[in-house]
Amino acid sequence: MTALELLDYPFMQRALIAAVVTGLAAPMVGIFLVQRRLSLMGDGLGHVAVTGIAIGLLTGTSPTWTAVVTAVLGALLIELIRERGRAGGDVALALLFYGGLAGGVLLTGIGGQSAANLQSYLFGSITTISVADVVWTMVLAAFVVVVCLGLSPQLFAVSQDPEFARVAGLRVRLYNVLVAVVAAATVTVAMRTVGLLLVSALMIVPVAASQQLARSFRATLVGAVLVGLVSAVGGLWVSAVASYSARVAPGPTIVLLSLAFFALAWPVGAWSRHRQRLAAPFPDDPYAVEDTDEHDVAGHHDHAHGPACGHQAVPHGDHVDYVHDGHRHAVHGEHYDEH
């Protein structure tokens, strides 16, 4: 059976839609969380949403909606604690992590729900997603995409420098709350795809991979969305094909695939940053004495430096220095000067 024949199954069609939507929306929020250095906020919200799921299972209402509501409340709480003291931001996240998870497991037990029921939310069950869930996932994702793209200049400014944004007249608190609410919505979007415990991965890992190679915010965003999409769809496909021979869960496969993108991007990024550092111009000393007698001639020098001589050429003021065994050689007439 080929991958395309898999698409004849309605459950695979629904799963594919959910994967595309999640891969698209999650990195768009994630980039603002990474920018604020709040990479773990998605994780905190995921844990809080566990309690919401349990409440839904306990009361017989739709777990998707109870999860949205508790995640939004958790997001507002995190934002409140963050606003009141930067020093306590990570502690606040930790409090919510454990409170949310413990509350969820406790409530599920009280309701007598089988552990498997909660597990489908903890680790995702993209292939059992219902039509109604697909529709609501798409609606939530559309909200996330519209907010993140439409207000991206404002959200960028507020995340980059909140104080400057406030003096610029932006309603910083409103935008902070908006990011928190959108993150909470994303948690519920990704809940069925990768599960609550791995939600944050799809928000953060594609951004982490993309920013290895990007120099601008826009490039990071485009790259992150691409990595998110390819990981989500690719992970679903790999797990579907592999499931003929072994039990391969789609959620973890998607996350591991996005981590693989990071593992590929990181060495390339590290190498290119290293190259950039080596080639960065030496600072030009504006107070250098323009005295031709005052220079330091390099000793015995057989090698002729040139564009392809193998030594790193670095701009220095109006000329080029060649990095040679820890020395900086600049051409001066027939010889080289030490710079």
Binding site: R86, Q154, Q160, D161, A168, R173, S216, Q276
Partner: protein
């Protein structure tokens, strides 16, 4: 509209004439408390249009606190603050104000290009959900050119030197084409060539008729530009007048004479002022330099 007795001078968009009646900044009897402890007391400061004012003083003298109060980041405990003749609590023309925060770095958790950071300064004049207009782009390009960073527009800010990042932050403030600039310690940790580049940029702004309020520990190459020096000591103004004379420049701050506090005993001479707060914060505490959340938002 302002409810102050004086006529509302600035209903119109864009630049006001330089001879406009209301001064850009008028602070009367200003007092600011951080974490419940009084920091600034009895500050009267009026900045006229086109003035270049340097706020000086030792570490902990309150000069940064004063600037952060003037731009609305810290709440005024007592006294009145008017910006362009409008009570600061009702002031909404933030596009007329440019703020360059005290900051080692312009970078954040995600790469951002120089152009993107500078473009965020244009948000003072942009409505949400509208694309950049040609005017916006021209202003951003012009701001980059003014600070001499036009050729670095596509570079990642995180890879610039401290002095270059400072220039990016100035360009960000410039992009909104403000009339009134607040710069918080723009020369701190910046080497002499970059301080001179900064002085050139500020000279351009001064020649355009901008009003500039600048916090500095030392003036260095900026000294020739300064029209007026306000010296703070322990939260009070001890000197307000023309540029510092050579003799005054070499006076240590704590011996500066003036109509100030009148008692000089028991203060830490030069280091940071101890506000007496416990050093450890719980998750629900606010750091001392952060305003109470209920008193901070600009009303809209």
């Amino acid at each position: 509209m302002p409810l102050t007795p004086r006529p509302a001078p600035h209903g119109q968009e864009g630049r006001a004439p330089a001879e406009s009646a209301a001064p850009p900044v008028r602070l009367t009897g200003g007092a600011v408390a951080l974490g419940g402890r009084p920091v600034l007391r009895g500050i009267d400061l009026t900045v006229a249009g086109g003035d270049f004012v340097a706020l000086m003083g030792a570490n902990g003298s309150g000069k940064s606190t004063l600037v952060r109060t003037l731009v609305g980041l810290l709440p005024l405990g007592r006294g009145g603050l008017e910006l362009f003749g409008t009570d600061a609590r009702r002031f909404r023309d933030w596009h007329r104000v440019g703020y360059v925060p005290q900051r080692g770095s312009a970078a954040s958790g995600v790469p951002a290009s120089v152009w993107e950071v500078v473009a965020s300064g244009r948000l003072t004049r942009r409505r949400p959900l509208r694309p950049l207009t040609r005017t916006d782009r021209a202003a951003i390009t012009d701001a980059l050119g003014t600070v001499g960073m036009a050729d670095r527009a596509r570079d990642n800010v995180a890879q610039l030197s401290g002095g270059q990042q400072q220039r990016v932050l100035i360009a960000r403030a410039l992009a909104g084409e403000p009339e009134l600039f607040f710069l918080d310690e723009p020369t701190a940790g910046v080497d002499l060539p970059h301080q001179e580049a900064l002085a050139d940029t500020l000279r351009v702004l001064k020649d355009r008729g901008s009003t500039i309020v600048l916090v500095a520990h030392e003036l260095g190459p900026l000294a020739p530009l300064v029209d007026r020096c306000v010296v703070l000591r322990d939260g009070r103004v001890v000197r307000d007048g023309g540029p510092l004379t050579d003799a005054e420049v070499h006076l240590p701050w704590h011996t500066m004479l003036g109509g100030g506090t009148g008692h000089g005993h028991g203060h830490a001479p030069d280091g940071a002022v101890d506000h007496g707060a416990p050093p450890v914060l719980s998750p629900f505490d606010r750091p001392l330099d952060s305003p109470a959340p209920d008193a901070t938002e600009h009303p809209r």
